[in-house]
């Protein structure tokens, strides 16, 4: 069973070791730091591809376990879901590293920044490869530890305040989570994640306890997933530099929370048991409230990054909505949104960073006419924003389509109304910047123009990653039917989880009950 566990360890170390080395570099050692950064990111990317080939072509299994306490192991394992999340993290890390090198040019404390940045990615990949709940908890807490320095990176009073709030929320969430995991381990032992869950054998009178533990787990993971009412650290954490907002707050941290919720629902409790306990409906309602609340707040946010942050609050809950529908099609919608939202949101944050770094634009009303000055960035922004709204054939449409089908399948037709309302709200907060950017005319100078006169509209290390992720967001929608698309992959995961040999069988069964 433990074949090639070293691969997983290597993947972790490929960001951990460069990260540790980077801490001890002097500020001026630009070339070496860049080499370590990009080398680590590229190596991780290649290793993940090798892992994918090993799993899917050669049918190998990878796992590694280290004993922690009697009966309790630290387990790293690669299943389809972990590969999905790990691939997403590795790809976006590579892109974001390039972006961050460009973004932080000449700013102080870069060694510290990239050191912690690499630690964060290691923790995220650790979360992805966690083979049981305890391992997940361990890496989840490490992520807290490694993100805080990035939130306070600028060292201003405002960033320290944001850091304090971030810590208060995440440490509290971590403590609740620890309590829940210990409790669950006492009840059911430290089992590996199992498709369909591993709690069936518990007697029926454990129901209330299981519900309590489920609530604690949701609270613990919900903090990072920014579920209502645990979301308010996220908009404040936007004081961090743009690459942090982009990678961590679009992918790593919030997704870690959502990923945890998916794991608990699918591989610890199992959808069936969760539905029997009646915990999926409250979770569904909470997700819906968060979706609507985040969108409404986004409409009223003037600061571009704030708007994107509230949009994240809203969009991450689509993932939770999808799995909480407790049916295969909804699960496809939720899981595929894990990838789609990540790619689209990182595009938007890159664009926001480009605007801020090139022209000093921070507020939505300052975006007038930016389309003429920075057409490439604005195109990327438009593509990603339209995707978020759910315009076909972009990636977001695929997610919402499956979520809607899933809602119908689960017999909760009213959820589709929520989806429609949310899409309208999305349009309401994403269309103004798009329209202003393309169709308004700028009068007077930009707030703070820094990058002028070059052949490109901004530094190539900022523009290239932005275009790359925008292209990905486009491709994931257009080419959703290819076998390498996230959709295909997610379908595969869900088929395994629900025991169907093909996802469409679920639809046929649902039509003829």
């Amino acid at each position: 069973m433990a074949t090639g566990g070293y691969m997983l360890l290597l993947i972790l170390l490929s960001s951990l070791l460069p990260g540790v080395a980077i801490f001890f570099l002097r500020e001026q050692q630009f070339a070496l730091r860049t080499a370590l950064n990009l080398g680590g990111a590229t190596l991780k990317f290649l290793l993940i591809i090798a892992l994918l080939v090993g799993v899917y072509r050669d049918g190998k299994t990878y796992s590694l376990s280290v004993n922690l306490l009697p009966g309790i192991d630290l387990v790293l394992a690669a299943d389809a879901l972990s590969l999905l999340f790990a691939t997403l993290s590795a790809v976006l890390w590579l892109v974001t590293t390039i972006y961050a090198i460009g973004y932080l040019e000449d700013s102080p404390n870069r060694s510290r920044f990239f050191g912690f940045f690499s630690l964060c990615v290691s923790a995220t990949v650790g979360i992805a490869f966690s083979g049981n709940l305890i391992t997940l908890l361990i890496f989840y807490e490490i992520l807290t530890l490694a993100t805080w320095p990035l939130v306070v990176h600028r060292g201003t009073a405002e960033s320290f305040r944001a850091g304090r709030i971030y810590l208060a929320y995440t440490l509290l969430g971590g403590a609740v989570l620890l309590g829940a995991v210990v409790w669950l381990t006492l009840l059911a032992g430290s089992e590996p994640f199992t498709a369909g869950g591993y709690l069936h054998h518990l007697s029926a009178d454990q129901g209330p306890v299981l519900i309590m533990i489920f609530a604690m787990l949701m609270a613990g993971f919900g903090v990072k997933a920014a579920l209502l009412p645990l979301h308010s650290w996220l908009p404040r954490a936007m004081v961090a530099p743009a690459p942090v907002s982009a990678l961590l707050h679009a992918v790593a941290v919030v997704k870690a929370g959502a990923f945890g919720i998916v794991r608990v629902l699918n591989d610890v409790y199992g959808v069936e048991l969760a539905a029997d306990l009646g915990v999926t409906l409250p979770l569904l309602l909470l997700a819906i409230m968060t979706i609507v609340y985040g969108s409404v707040r986004a409409v009223f946010a003037d600061d571009l990054k704030q708007r994107l942050a509230f949009s994240t609050v809203s969009q991450v809950s689509y993932i939770i909505l999808g799995v909480a529908l407790a049916g295969p099609i909804g699960a496809v919608g939720g899981l595929v949104h894990l990838v789609h939202q990540g790619v689209m949101k990182i595009t938007l944050f890159f664009c926001a960073g480009n605007f801020a770094e090139t022209l000093g634009i921070h507020r939505v009303d300052e975006m007038r006419g930016v389309g003429r000055r920075m057409p490439w960035t604005m195109t990327a922004f438009t593509l990603a924003a339209l995707g978020m709204i759910g315009i076909p054939p972009l990636a977001g449409f695929i997610s919402k389509w499956y979520l809607g089908l899933g809602a119908l399948e689960a017999g909760l037709a009213w959820v589709t109304v929520v989806l429609v309302v949310s899409s309208l709200l999305n349009a309401l907060y994403f269309l103004p910047p798009i329209l202003r950017g393309w169709f308004s005319r700028r009068e007077g100078p930009w707030p703070d123009e820094r990058h002028g006169g070059g052949r490109l509209e901004t530094h190539w290390m900022l523009l290239l990653p932005t275009m790359a992720v925008a292209a990905m967001a486009l491709g994931m929608g257009l080419l959703a039917s290819l076998t390498i698309s996230p959709l295909y992959w997610v379908t595969f995961i869900v088929e395994f989880e629900y025991g169907y040999d093909h996802i469409w069988r679920a639809i046929f069964e649902w039509e003829t009950p």
Binding site: F23, F24, V66, N67, L68, L69, P70, P108, L137, I138, F139, E141, I142, T144, L145, W148, P149, V152, H153, R154, G155, T156, F160, G163, L167, L171, L172, A175, V176, L178, G179, V182, W183, T185, L186
Partner: protein, 484 residues
């Protein structure tokens, strides 16, 4: 393994006392070479402690009558799982303290006094862990106190002297109460050996009174809230290696003694409310120490108040004692994890203090940025205090929460988790200055060893995160008393 069989016959235990004592003597005879004697002693003692732990793990508890004299006239050394784990922790932390002191005390004229007293303290602690009877425990406890008081006073100046005096008086009061308990026990049963007493003690007035006197006396020494007032000034104003020794090791000594007594001598006595009282005091300590650590303006004060808070966890022992047969092991693992992490934090604090020339938290940012290795040691060991994953502190926290939930005492689980949050708050407060904008400054030049030792010890707390299973299996080889 054949070498294990040879080892089984070796009497290692006496060497753990003889070596540091000889080291202290040699350091006194050759003051100029005191540091090298100290270092040699520390290395040899660590080797012995390691061998003893392996021996006990392989062959079970070792009992040795010194000079062939049987009790009550002779002295019996008992090396079981609990004792050898504490000896090993002391030896590891002791070696780190010795190495750090090489740099910290370099160029100080009266440095040899540190070595004499420190090695003496070490010998006394080892003797205490190995003692098999209640009177020997008293003598060794007094030796520990006298050595620690002298070490606190070593810094000179009014504040350390007053702190040392206060510490001495509190300790003597505790010792007297303990000794009265010994007299009562001997009066009632006519024996002094821990095992022999445990076999006889039954529910009656004399042992109850003795248990109360001894426990309360030792509580003052362990600085359990609200008897903690002497601790922060004593630990905060001593030289860093001394602070580390006091906070990481000496506090554990009186805790060990309480644990031994209740595990071996008094298992037949009911706790009758003592468990709840202790639990409440423990919660008070966790809360009060945590809040004070959040407010203290100086780095070493914060760490000292952190000790007040963490001592609270140790006394969750009482709620666990009767409710869960394995509960004490969780507490011992916590003591070990805390010992290593706290020593690392204090040594790192000492390095920063030496580099900056002060330890005012608000003005430490530049030196923290300049001394990355030390800041990392502070961060990693701090994570150990909070109980964040991959550190021994996490495993300890896990075990404590697991014990509490298993025994159905969820309120103490809440205390542990809540205390972790407070610890998180003050540890991140310690690290905050490093992230303020400003230049990096390495401060005064320091020997490299002062940077590497805290880091090594901090990395060891990560190692402890994977040592849960072996430590528990070593603890399983502990002599319990009474019926057990």
């Amino acid at each position: 393994m054949p070498w294990m069989d040879v080892m089984a016959d070796m009497a290692l235990a006496p060497w753990l006392v003889i070596l540091p004592l000889a080291g202290a003597l040699l350091a006194g005879l050759w003051p100029a070479a005191a540091r090298w004697w100290g270092l040699l002693t520390a290395l040899l003692t660590l080797v012995m402690a390691l061998l003893l732990a392996l021996q006990v793990h392989a062959h079970g508890p070792m009992i040795l009558d010194l000079g062939g004299w049987a009790p009550p006239l002779g002295i019996t050394l008992v090396a079981d799982g609990l004792a050898s784990l504490m000896l090993l922790m002391t030896a590891v932390v002791g070696l780190a303290i010795s190495l750090h002191a090489l740099g910290y005390l370099a160029g100080e004229g009266r440095g040899h006094w540190f070595w004499i007293l420190w090695l003496w303290l070490w010998a006394a602690m080892n003797a205490l862990y190995l003692s098999g009877d209640v009177f020997n425990l008293y003598v060794t406890l007094e030796l520990v106190v006298l050595a620690s008081v002298a070490l606190v006073a070593l810094a000179g100046g009014a504040a350390p002297l007053v702190a040392a005096m206060r510490y001495l008086l509190v300790s003597l009061l505790g010792s007297m109460a303990y000794l009265m308990g010994v007299a009562l026990l001997y009066g009632a049963y006519g024996v002094l050996g821990l095992q022999a007493l445990g076999a006889q003690v039954a529910l009656s007035a004399a042992p109850m009174l003795a248990a109360v006197l001894m426990t309360v006396g030792l509580l003052a020494k362990s600085a359990l809230f609200p008897l903690h007032v002497w601790l922060p000034p004593a630990h905060g104003s001593a030289p860093a290696p001394v602070s580390a020794a006091l906070s990481a090791l000496v506090v554990k000594v009186s805790f060990y003694l309480i644990l031994r007594l209740w595990l071996t001598v008094f298992p037949a006595l009911p706790l009758s409310g003592l468990d709840v009282l202790m639990g409440v005091l423990a919660a008070g300590a966790v809360l009060w120490g945590g809040l004070m650590a959040l407010r203290a303006p100086r780095l070493k004060q914060v760490v000292a108040y952190s000790t007040v808070a963490q001592v609270g966890y140790l006394f969750l022992l009482f709620p666990f004692l009767r409710a869960h047969p394995e509960g004490w092991k969780a507490v011992v693992f916590f003591a070990v994890a805390h010992g290593v992490a706290k020593a690392a934090v204090f040594l790192a604090a000492g390095t920063l203090q030496r580099a900056a020339g002060h330890d005012r938290l608000a003005d430490l940012g530049a030196v923290m940025r300049g001394r990355l290795k030390t800041s990392f040691a502070l961060g990693i060991a701090g994570a150990g205090l909070v109980g964040l994953p991959f550190t021994g502190g996490f495993i300890a926290k896990w075990l404590l929460v697991q014990t509490a939930l298993e025994a159905g005492l969820w309120i103490w689980a809440l205390v542990v988790l809540g205390g972790g949050l407070l610890a998180g708050a003050y540890v991140f407060r310690l690290l905050g200055p490093a992230f303020e904008p400003g230049p990096a400054d390495r401060g005064r030049p320091l020997p490299a060893v002062m940077e590497w030792v805290p880091l090594a010890l901090a990395l060891l707390t990560i190692g402890l995160g994977f040592a849960g299973t072996p430590a528990l299996s070593l603890l399983a080889r502990t002599l319990a008393g009474g019926g057990g």
